[in-house]
Amino acid sequence: MEPRLKPVSDNAVLVSFADEQSQQAHDQVLALDRALSQTPPHGMVEAVPALVNVLVVFDPLATEHEAIQAALSDLLVDLEPKATKGKTHIIEVCYDPSFGPDLDAVAQATNLTRDGVIKTHLTGEYTALMYGFSPGYAYLGGVAKPIQIPRKSAPVRGVPAGSVIIAGQQCLITTLTMPTGWSILGRSPTKILTGNAARPFLFDVGDTIRFTQIDRETFDIRQGGDPE
């Protein structure tokens, strides 16, 4: 479909590329997001990329919907999806049973062994599709078909930060201790909230993520040799 531009309240425009999630739509999201960061329209405050659309927030004292929509229309003409790729990150995951309480349940639901679940999770190449829910919650698309399982019917409370969780096609590394209905496969020592003021979030939307397995001893060393 043609990109759809819709004014939002007094300070934003939503650009939608599709009604259903697809690789093609997300490529267009990434391309527009990149174009906006290279040539931000006058008065733009921020752009928020998601699965099929980009929200462009502007300062209503500096510009208006029509001017932002005109600038967006210009950018959309020359959009080049897939022109560049994001960074690739290798993220360590420890699948120790104490960190992955749902490995057995996922194995049972998918007719795989516990190792089969881990191997399948490790084979995926993931893309940071968008952030949402809470600071640093990056939705990573690319969970391989055999381990795509729905959410649990009820969320589990107190799931620790750093948990590597899956639901459907998506995987997520949590940044806070929170309830979740997703299946918990393991834990990563890598901090998505980096604590680095110059680059506070590890992934940009569009980046590629691969997982690599570490054992409990390595996890503890990464955590500062301070086992729980």
Binding site: P7, A47, V48, L55, P60, L61, M130, Y131, G132, P135
Partner: protein, 336 residues
Amino acid sequence: MTDAVLAVQYAGPLVSIQDEGRAGHMRFGVPQSGPMDRLSFRAAHAALGQDHTGSAIEVSLGGIILKCIKGAVTLAIAGGDFSVAHAGATSSNWTVLTIETGQTLSVRAGGSGSWAYIAFAGALQSRMWLGSAATHTLSGFGGGVIQAGDSLRITHPVAHEDRLGQIERPIGDDGPIRVVMGPQDHHFDDAAISALMSSAFNVSDAYDRMGMQLTGPKIPPKGALSIPSEPVCRGSIQVNGDGIATVLLADHQTTGGYPKIATVVSVDQDRLAQMRAGDPISFAAITPQDALALRRKATLQQARYLEAIAIPKGSLEQRLMRENLVGGIIADAPDD
């Protein structure tokens, strides 16, 4: 001057440190946060003659009790209609006072309003995150939620004798809360849209800094509930599968899979946030262009208001003289 230190003797839920917030991080899942009622926050700072870049305490309906255990500092309390007890006297808020060592200040919910702000003539020390002290309540990042037992330090405190007394309140809008339709109004049929526009809703008690759930007629979306997660903003009215509407506020999630039938315009977000559970609420749709024009007009009016309340009232002696003069003029006015 030596720092002022306030011991928190009591704090209700959702009392937190806020500043203007952190814009520009929504792409990483971080909303702006900041005050639920931005004009009142600014008024508290303005009444002390300072700009509104600093932080303040956001007081919820739960209230707060502070005891000054060191130093002294002038502070301003604005927002809603709260009740203030200090140095043996009780008054309404929208006031500037100085708290001294040994004195207690209590700010409690009054006749109306959900949020009040305590700003200090000095720098309220707090943790920062991404360059802002605004508390994101879900994560606790930023200055943080204030709890009994905490102690608050104000550096470079000033005692402003020439600013004590009442703060003139801003003139508020009434009437329906204005919204711009969409961005996902195409997921609703005419009946649902006309129900939103013509029905009386009420604020439910499911109300916190993330959002305000409403009670009232159901406005169910048309079938398609599996829409991809889309960016949301402050003011978005999202509707779940049961047709229940929630207005997203300062600590909103940045993306969500529920359709957003309409968005509350920014000029009406402060008064919406001051509503309480049970308060009636109705909506009226305006165009994005009208919403933007309203915002520009309100920004000018608010700037004038903030300038007016920033003018010092003068020393006690000057104020007494002025009051006497005014009293004299009134007393001497000829009868007609």
